[in-house]
Amino acid sequence: MAEELETERADVREDGRRPPRAVVGSHRIEEEIFGKVFDSNIIKRIWTFVEPYRTKIYWAVAAVLSFTAMQLLIPLIIRYAIDHGMQQGSADWHVLTWSIVVFLVAIIINFGASYLQEMLVGGVAEDVLFDIRKAMFSHLQRVSLSWMDKTEVGRLMSRLQGDVNSMQEFLETSVLSVGDIALLFGIVFVMLYLDFKLGLLTLCALPVLFVVRLFWLPRARKSFMAAHETNSIANGALAEAIHGVRAVQSMDRERVNFMLYDDKAHANLRTHLTAAKYAQVMVPIVDSLTGLAMALVIVVGGSRVLNQALDVGVMVAFLFYIQRFFDPIRSLTLQYSVMQRAMASGQRLTEVLDVPVDIQDAPNAKVLSPDMDGSVEFKDVVFGYNPKHPVLKHVSFKVNPGETVALVGPTGSGKSSCMSLIHRFYEVQGGQVLVGGHDVRDLTQDSLGRQIAMVLQEPFLFTGTVFDNIRYHKTDATREEVIEAAKTVGAHDFIMRMPGGYDGILGQRGGNLSLGQRQLISFARALVADAKILVLDEATANIDSYTEMLIQKALVKLLEGRTGLVIAHRLATIREADRIIVLQNGELIESGNHTELMRNRKLYSKLYNLNYASFDDIPEDVLDEAVTTGQAT
């Protein structure tokens, strides 16, 4: 069949019409929810984060209002100075002087208010940002793994960063909007007060604006949405390229990926240009209306001034106000899109915050004491990641205190899943998992975690020193303990050869170590945890048998009085176990020690023989049999 694989390849290459299978960015089509501009539920949720700072917010609003008041007052002072203080040839300095003094006071208040307001708002916005992020992060620490499995880290990161940032932006602008709205009303009020008719005339411009916005809004919204969406797709594609760069280069995908990315980036460019058009089209409209309003004031107001029916100062004040009047309208238009984005972000944030915590400590959960016996028991356990497709079917076995039990079975038979259940990463659908004689659901997760040390099939290391990685979480572990553990697993020598030794820095995911070395460190980490139960999921799969033998020797002492659960495909690894449990297709098919199982002549003995038979010696039918029983998962 491999031959056919090749002959076909050539002609497939030829028909380039067919678009390549796109992976780039395809997995991150954000479900953009551009909800209502104002969603009271979301506002409520966000308010709970702002609440602790409410005194500051009140002060900020007060400052905004006084700032606005000063903005209103300043033209009035000017008007007063012009009308009453500047008669040509007059010698009454009094009015002018007083006007100047009041003006000075006003600008100092203005200064203080604007300083206070921005300080408070800026500060609170930062605080709230970090609070929201912390709340989400700490919630994510409790959310069940089945949810985490389905959710990409990148997506969560964009919640924790992008969405949280747009909430910050929203907070800042919303306080400023209060000022803008106050300014708007203030100006209307003052204008009507100064001269009612002229004021009304000026306000005529407003309805026009609203009609225009009515047409503008839905279209603009759509274009903003598209821009946001294409942006997150392009960003997702970039993140993917960074994470998968080694696979990309090794499979020579750079050109295809670039082509696909170009599409995404180009779509991003296009939608942004459209959005910019929509965002800017309001500018000339607002400006024209400003011009119109001023023209009206000049013609109507001006002739009334000529007829001495109006003070020239009033007209000047009007002209000032009109210019200020459209500023808040303009910025409110801008804030509209900020609000909209914030609501969408708020929605996504609340989604994360509302992910139910399926696996929680029961109300009267017990603490698993370190003195428990260390037994592990599966009682008729049924479990599936998708409840409709069980991965473990009625599995029952018991590991007695101090015993070392091995789990073997073909790939995908559910061994790692068993281990996850002991730790209660997932909830069983039927039956019970008991640790130390207690159902894991009756224990606190924290105490359970402390009594079980795991070496996971995938060794994950954190960026940081070797030392910190080995004593991970057990921050009171001494250097001696760490070195001891490293020596036990035979990691000491290569650690000492690293630049910096135990204080040498590991790259991302331990990238500057070989996989076997990473596995050794994660093994040492489990030893330092000093737990009653040790779970080794393929802990030595990437390590040669000689090193493994050394580890096993060193472990004998360590394992005394502890319970061990070991998974391995290399059967030599587990030959010494007290008992071997064979899983196949999620069912327990045999158990016993090595000699018993070999005598049984079932799956175990077949797998064992396959381990050592030379390839050509195995008749096809034996192979077939072993394999069909072996991997029908």
Partner: protein, 617 residues
Amino acid sequence: MSSDATDRVAKPLASLALVNAAGWGKGFSILTRITVMAFRHPWQSSFAIGATLVASTFQLMIPRLLGQAVDHTQVALTGGNAGQMAQDALLTTALLLLGASVLRGIFTLIQNYYSEAVGHHMGYRLRLACYEKIQRLSFSFHDSMHSGDLITVGLLDLEGVRMYFSTALVRMVLLTMLIGIGAYMLISTDVVLGLLALSFVPFVGWRSSVTQLRLRATWLDLQERLSVLTRVMEENLGGIRVVRAFAAQEHEMDKFEVASQSAVTLAHQRVGIRVANTSAMTLSFFAAMGLVLWVGGTKVMAGQMTVGTLTSFLTFMTILQMPVRQLGLMVNAFARASTCGARLFELLDLDIAIKDGKNASELKVTDGTLRFENVNFAYPSAAKNQVLTGVTFEAKRGETIGIVGPPGSGKSTLAHLIPRFYDVSGGRITIDGQDIRTATLQSLRRSVGVVQQDSFLFTTTIENNIAYGDPWAKEARIERASESAQLHNYVLGLPTGYETVVGERGVSLSGGQRQRLSIARALMLRPAVMVFDDSTAAIDAGTEQRIRSAMRKYAAERVTLIVAHRLSSLMHADRILFMEDGRIVESGTHEELLALGGRYKALYDLQVRPGDDILSA
């Protein structure tokens, strides 16, 4: 590939060239470089700047006209005729004002639109350049750079540079225009009053340059702290199983808290700096206005000036009020662009360590013979640790070479040298007599397939993952590859079959399923040299035998290198190399090595003979 496709493939080079061309003279400041890049879109940027000039001129006309209007109302009503004339004059002024406002609006639209457009076009070019660079940068670069930091450069720093044109440059032009022309107009009207009206300018200039420096410094610092925070969060979420397994949630929250606090403290400081600056600038502006009012008022009273002129002075200043407040933003934008630019350009200017040589030619595979000649190697990041020393061997088409050795003995490293993920430090590697460094990277990497030890699966469907190296492949071929890798039956059992998404890095698969998927992915390629780096460790012996049997024909047409720890995986190999500390210490067939009675034999005994003696020892 279609011609369309080839055209677009040429693009990365073009866009890189454009970005690089802007980089002449390293000594030139980053801002100059960004500016030059912006003007590589000549039409849009000239439209933007031109429109800014026109719009600001109209904007400056407005106070003039308003002043005129006020003056017209001040005409003494001597006769009926004069009143009528004043009315007409008012009407004319009003119309002019309306016209000026409309035009200002239209030109502001053009200004804003085109300056954004320039930004977006720059952003597009930069994105492509950045993507291309990241894809091409060699493994040693990616080893040294945390992916989170790289994403920050590609997203945030790029954004900072993109925004430069509209938020910094155009705004600066606008401001210079308003203040410059305004200054001329004011001073020509009344020297003293004009100087007073502008008295805030030097203060604002000084403040903003000081603030820019401080903001810039803290911006870098903040980025640094935020990236620590990002790293903490990202690794926590990526390593969530470890965190849960050790019940380390509290520990992780502590780490988060520390990182978060340090960032938030600095963020507060930055708010302080920024706010102090804007408030002081606004204050100085209003103070200047107060001066104008005072001195102007005196002049009006003394009959040296009309109320109208004073009004136009004051209106001019209100027009300036917005830009002055924006000055703070502009300063911020400059600071941001220069720091972001520094980081972005550092990435874009990086030399790609491994690329085609000057006169690289296509690799011509004839016999398909791979040779290592006295190869030495040390990782660039730890140059003192010699990882491979004097590695020499040869493999012909159809041969299978097995490699064993303890962890860290250099097996993966050896595998990574063949497709030139790293370059050898000494000796050479040849394929059919051609030094791999003289071949083009593309042809080389197509001729060498590697199933990496911790292979990366993409968050996409199983089908897309298998076809990653050959995205045009037909379904039938994908299924056959998956059959050979013993994955097909499993996939058929899934509710959504090949359309099933595998989860991030393949979390929803078992260890062995992940490995089989990467084997299937590799089988889609047709390389002359195929390396399986410990890629069956999580697969049971039965399934593995089955895979090997399916691949027998496949292996007959190429050199196959198998790294494995389970000796049954490689005992049938034509030659087995035993590696230790970067050297080949034993080599030969299974039988020869057993007869030799060395390390390989010890390993074999450990795996075959019951180990009572070992544990009781």
